[in-house]
C-alpha cells in the first residue's frame, strides 16, 4: 500500500486548492448559485479536472480512479457545486463502461473539455433509489416516462437515462439530448443550494445512436456509474468536513464569552477532538471507496462502496451538527458559511443511496 500522492495528484490538489481558495469563496459561490458560471467551469476544465479519469485516447487527463480522491477532497473543501460528479465522473463512467465505442468517441472528449455537460437520470418518482427502470419505457426508439432528482438536470446538454425496453423487458441505457422534442425539465432548488430536476419524456423519438447499452451491459454500466459517483461524493464530503473543521476551530479561537475565547473551554476542545475523529474515519473510508474502484471482486467492491457511503454520511452528519452547535446562535444564521457546509453534508446522506440502501447492499452481499 502506498498512500503518498503521485506528482500529478499533488499538483492537481495544490492547484485546485488555490483555485478554490481564490475563486470559490462564499460570496462567489452564492453569487453563482442557480446557474452554471462558464468561467468557473472553464477554470476547472483548464486544470484537467473535468477530464480527470477519462483516458487520454478520448481527450482526458488519463488519471487512475484513485486520483478522484485528492481532486474531490479539494472540490468538497470549496463546496463546489458545479456538475463535476454527475457529468465527468458518473456519465463518463457509464459511457466508458458501456463498451459503446461510438458513444465514447462522440462524447468523452466533449465531456473532458467541458463542452458537453451530462447528468445521470435513474431515479423514478415514488421509488426512492431503485435502479431497475420501470416508469421509463422504450418502445422501439420512442421514450416515455419520468425521472426525478436528476442532479443539475437543467445545466445538462444530455442525460444518461435508464429505461425498460417495452418489447424485451430488458434494461436499456440511453443518451437523451436535452433539446429533444417531447422533453420537459422542471428544475427545483435544493436544500444545499444546488439544483436538481424532474424530466418528463413524452413520445421522445430517439435514434440508434442514442442507445448506449442494453440488458446486462446497461445494468452494469449504471451500477459502475453510481459506484464511481459515490466514491467521488465521499471524497467531496470529507473535503467539506475538513474545511468545516478548520472554520470551526477559527471561530472558537475568535469568539469570546466569559472573558476568554471559546477555545479555552475543555468541553468544547473535546467536542472538536470528536470531530477530528469523525473526519479521520470518514477520510479513511474515502480511501476505501477510491480503492474499491480498482477492486476486481465485484462483491467486495460493492461492500466497500456501501460501507464508505454509510460512514461518510454518518460522520458528516455528526461533524456538521457539532459545527453548528459550536457556533452557537451564529451557526443557525444564513450569514455564515457554516450553514452551507452543514446543508451539503446533510444532503450527502440523501444522494446516490441513503443509509438504508447501503445497509441493504451490505446485507445482500454478506
Amino acid at each position: 500500500m502506498v498512500f503518498e500522492y503521485s506528482e500529478e495528484q499533488q499538483m492537481l490538489a495544490d492547484s485546485l486548492r488555490r483555485l478554490m481558495t481564490d475563486n470559490w469563496t462564499m460570496a462567489r459561490r452564492r453569487a453563482r448559485q442557480g446557474g452554471l458560471d462558464p468561467s468557473a467551469w472553464n477554470a476547472l476544465a483548464e486544470l484537467g479536472i473535468l477530464g480527470l479519469v477519462i483516458d487520454a485516447g478520448h481527450g482526458g487527463f488519463g488519471e487512475p480512479p484513485a486520483s478522484l480522491l485528492p481532486v474531490h477532497l479539494e472540490l468538497g473543501a470549496g463546496l463546489a457545486d458545479e456538475p463535476v460528479i454527475p457529468s465527468c465522473v458518473m456519465a463518463a463512467t457509464a459511457i466508458r463502461a458501456s463498451g459503446n465505442e461510438e458513444a465514447a468517441r462522440r462524447w468523452l472528449p466533449r465531456i473532458a473539455c467541458g463542452e458537453a455537460i451530462f447528468s445521470v437520470a435513474y431515479q423514478e418518482p415514488g421509488r426512492r433509489y431503485a435502479t431497475e427502470p420501470r416508469d421509463c419505457r422504450l418502445a422501439g426508439l420512442v421514450l416515455d416516462g419520468s425521472k426525478h432528482l436528476v442532479w443539475h438536470a437543467g445545466a445538462a446538454h444530455a442525460w444518461i437515462v435508464s429505461a425498460r425496453d417495452a418489447a424485451s423487458n430488458e434494461a436499456v441505457l440511453l443518451i437523451v439530448p436535452a433539446d429533444a422534442a417531447g422533453v420537459a425539465v422542471t428544475q427545483t432548488n435544493t436544500l444545499d443550494r444546488s439544483r436538481c430536476g424532474r424530466i418528463d419524456f413524452k413520445q421522445v423519438t430517439l435514434s440508434q445512436d442514442h442507445v448506449l447499452a442494453r440488458g446486462a451491459a446497461a445494468r452494469a454500466a449504471l451500477d459502475l456509474a453510481l459506484q464511481w459517483g459515490t466514491a467521488a461524493l465521499c471524497a467531496h464530503a470529507v473535503g467539506a468536513m475538513a474545511r468545516l473543521l478548520d472554520i470551526t476551530v477559527d471561530y472558537l479561537k475568535t469568539r469570546k464569552q466569559f472573558g476568554q475565547p471559546l477555545a479555552a473551554f475543555q468541553a468544547l476542545q473535546h467536542r472538536m477532538a470528536e470531530m477530528v475523529v469523525a473526519k479521520e474515519m470518514a477520510l479513511s473510508m474515502a480511501y476505501v471507496a477510491a480503492a474499491a474502484l480498482t477492486e476486481p471482486d465485484a462483491r467486495a467492491r460493492r461492500r466497500m462502496i456501501a460501507a464508505a457511503k454509510l460512514e461518510t454520511a454518518r460522520s458528516g452528519r455528526f461533524l456538521s451538527q457539532c459545527a453548528v452547535q459550536l457556533h452557537g446562535g451564529m451557526g443557525m444564521t444564513d450569514e455564515l458559511e457554516v450553514g452551507d457546509f452543514f446543508k451539503r453534508l446533510t444532503v450527502v446522506e440523501l444522494l446516490l443511496g441513503d443509509s438504508a440502501e447501503q445497509l441493504a447492499a451490505l446485507e445482500e452481499t454478506a
Binding site: Q123, G126, R127, R128, Y129, A130, L149, T188, N189, T190, L191, D192, C196, Q257, F258, G259, F265, A267, L268, R317, Q321, V324, Q325, G328, G329, G331, M332, T333, D334, E335, G339, F342, K343, T346, V347, L350, L351, D354, S355, A356, E357, L359, A360
Partner: protein
C-alpha cells in the same frame, strides 16, 4: 403515591380534547401538521379562541386572569393542544414576562400589562442576547441611563424571536457599569413603537426570518417601565429563564411529531415498494423514540408535581437537554423517512399556499428544512453545554 391518571385528570383531558377539536380552525391545524409557516394572525386567532373559553392564560393563577390549573393539568393541556395541531402559545408574554411581573412587577404594571397578555392584545418579544453576549448574558452592554422621568436606552439586541410582530419588548439593560456585572443589570419594558427602535430580520438556515436584530438608539423609556428595582434585573432574568427552560422540553411537540412520523412512514414507500413503517429497522427506531418520550413525560410530571408553583430549579436543565435531543431525533427521523425527496427545497414551500402534488409531499419537502431548523433547540434558551454546567454545579456541587 398515585401513579396513574385520576378520573378527574382523564375527564380534564377529554374536555380539552373536545374543546380543541371543536375550536381549532382547520386551516391553522393543517399548517401546523404540515410544518408550514405560521403567521401573526394564526397565533392571534388561536389564542383568542382559547381566551373566549377563559383559557387565555392556561399557566397562570386565577388571581391574574389565568385558569388556576395545577402543574399536571397544565401539562395535559399542553400535550392535548399540541397533539391536535394547535400552534404553541407564544411564551414571551405568558411564560416569560408575565410570571416576572406577577412576582416582581408593580401593581400598576400588573394591571396594565397582564390582562392584555391574557387576551393576546400585546405581542411581547425578549430583548436578552446581544452580539457579544450570548451564553455570557451577564456581560450585556445595552445601556440605560436615568434622565429625569425617563431612561435613555442605547444598544443592540439579537435573536429576538418574532420581534417583527411585537408590540412590547422586555429588555435587559445595564444601568450601572461600576459594580459586578450581574448587579448592574435592570429590566425595562419597551414599547416597540418608540422612536429609535429598529427591527431587522435575521435569515436562518431554513430560509425563514423568525429571529431579528433590534437596534435601540436613544430610545426614551418612561421610568415607570422599570420592573422592580434597578440592579435586580439579573435575578428577574434567571427567574424567567427557569420558566423558559421547562417549556422548551417540548413534550407536546414530541407527541405530535411522533404521530406525524408514523403517519408519514405508513404513506411512504421504501425502495422495495412496501411502506417504510413495515421496515423492522424503522419500527425499532420509532419504538426507541416512543420510549424516550415516555420517559420525558414522566420526568416532566415528577418535576412539575415536586415543584408545584415554585419556580423551576436545575431540573429544568435536565428537561431541556433531553427534550431538545428528542426533538432533534424526531426531525432527523422525518428526513430519513422522506429520503431522497428531502433534497429538493425552496423556502417558499413552507408557505401554506405552496403548490404540491401527492399525499405527504409537503411533509417530505419540509423535512430537510425542519431538520436544519431543529439544530437551534440545543442552542437557544441556554445551550446544552450551559445546561450541563448548571447540572454539574447546582445538582452535583462540582
Amino acid at each position: 403515591m398515585q401513579l396513574n391518571w385520576t378520573p378527574e385528570e382523564r375527564r380534564f383531558r377529554e374536555d380539552v380534547r373536545e374543546f380543541v377539536s371543536a375550536n381549532l380552525p382547520a386551516d391553522i391545524r393543517d399548517k401546523v401538521m404540515r410544518h408550514q409557516r405560521l403567521h401573526r394572525d394564526d397565533y392571534i386567532r388561536w389564542h383568542c379562541a382559547l381566551d373566549a373559553r377563559g383559557w387565555g392564560a392556561p399557566t397562570w393563577p386565577g388571581e391574574f386572569g389565568g385558569t388556576g390549573w395545577n402543574a399536571i393539568e397544565r401539562l395535559i393541556f399542553e400535550v392535548e393542544c399540541f397533539s391536535a395541531g394547535a400552534p404553541r402559545l407564544l411564551p414571551f408574554g405568558l411564560s416569560m414576562i408575565g410570571p416576572v411581573l406577577m412576582k416582581y412587577g408593580s401593581r400598576a404594571q400588573q394591571e396594565r400589562f397582564l390582562p392584555r397578555i391574557v387576551r393576546m392584545q400585546d405581542w411581547w418579544c425578549q430583548g436578552y442576547s446581544e452580539p457579544g453576549s450570548g451564553s455570557d448574558l451577564a456581560s450585556l452592554k445595552t445601556r440605560a441611563e436615568r434622565d429625569g422621568d425617563h431612561y435613555r436606552v442605547d444598544g443592540q439586541k439579537t435573536w429576538t424571536t418574532l420581534a417583527q410582530y411585537a408590540d412590547w419588548m422586555f429588555c435587559l439593560v445595564r444601568t450601572n457599569s461600576e459594580v459586578k456585572q450581574q448587579l448592574g443589570i435592570s429590566l425595562l419594558l419597551i414599547d416597540m413603537k418608540s422612536p429609535g427602535v429598529t427591527v431587522r430580520p435575521i435569515k436562518t438556515l431554513d430560509g425563514g426570518c423568525d429571529v431579528n436584530e433590534v437596534w435601540l438608539e436613544n430610545v426614551q423609556v418612561p421610568a415607570e417601565n422599570l420592573v422592580g428595582e434597578e440592579g435586580k434585573g439579573w435575578t428577574y432574568a434567571k427567574y424567567l429563564l427557569g420558566h423558559e427552560r421547562t417549556g422548551i422540553a417540548g413534550l407536546g411537540h414530541c407527541h405530535r411529531e411522533l404521530r406525524i412520523l408514523k403517519d408519514l412512514a405508513a404513506r411512504t414507500q421504501s425502495s422495495s415498494g412496501r411502506p417504510i413503517l413495515e421496515d423492522p429497522r424503522m419500527r425499532d427506531r420509532l419504538s426507541r423514540i416512543e420510549v424516550d418520550i415516555m420517559a420525558l413525560e414522566m420526568l416532566l410530571l415528577r418535576v412539575a408535581a415536586a415543584r408545584g408553583d415554585a419556580p423551576p430549579g436545575p431540573e429544568a436543565s435536565v428537561l431541556k437537554i433531553r427534550g431538545s435531543e428528542i426533538q432533534q431525533d424526531l426531525a432527523m427521523l422525518q428526513m430519513e423517512i422522506a429520503g431522497p425527496d428531502a433534497w429538493p427545497y425552496d423556502p417558499d414551500w413552507m408557505e401554506a399556499d405552496a403548490p404540491f402534488h401527492g399525499p405527504g409531499a409537503e411533509m417530505t419537502a419540509a423535512s430537510g428544512a425542519g431538520y436544519a431548523d431543529m439544530r437551534k433547540v440545543s442552542i437557544y434558551g441556554g445551550t446544552t453545554e450551559v445546561q450541563k454546567s448548571i447540572i454539574a454545579r447546582m445538582m452535583l456541587g462540582l
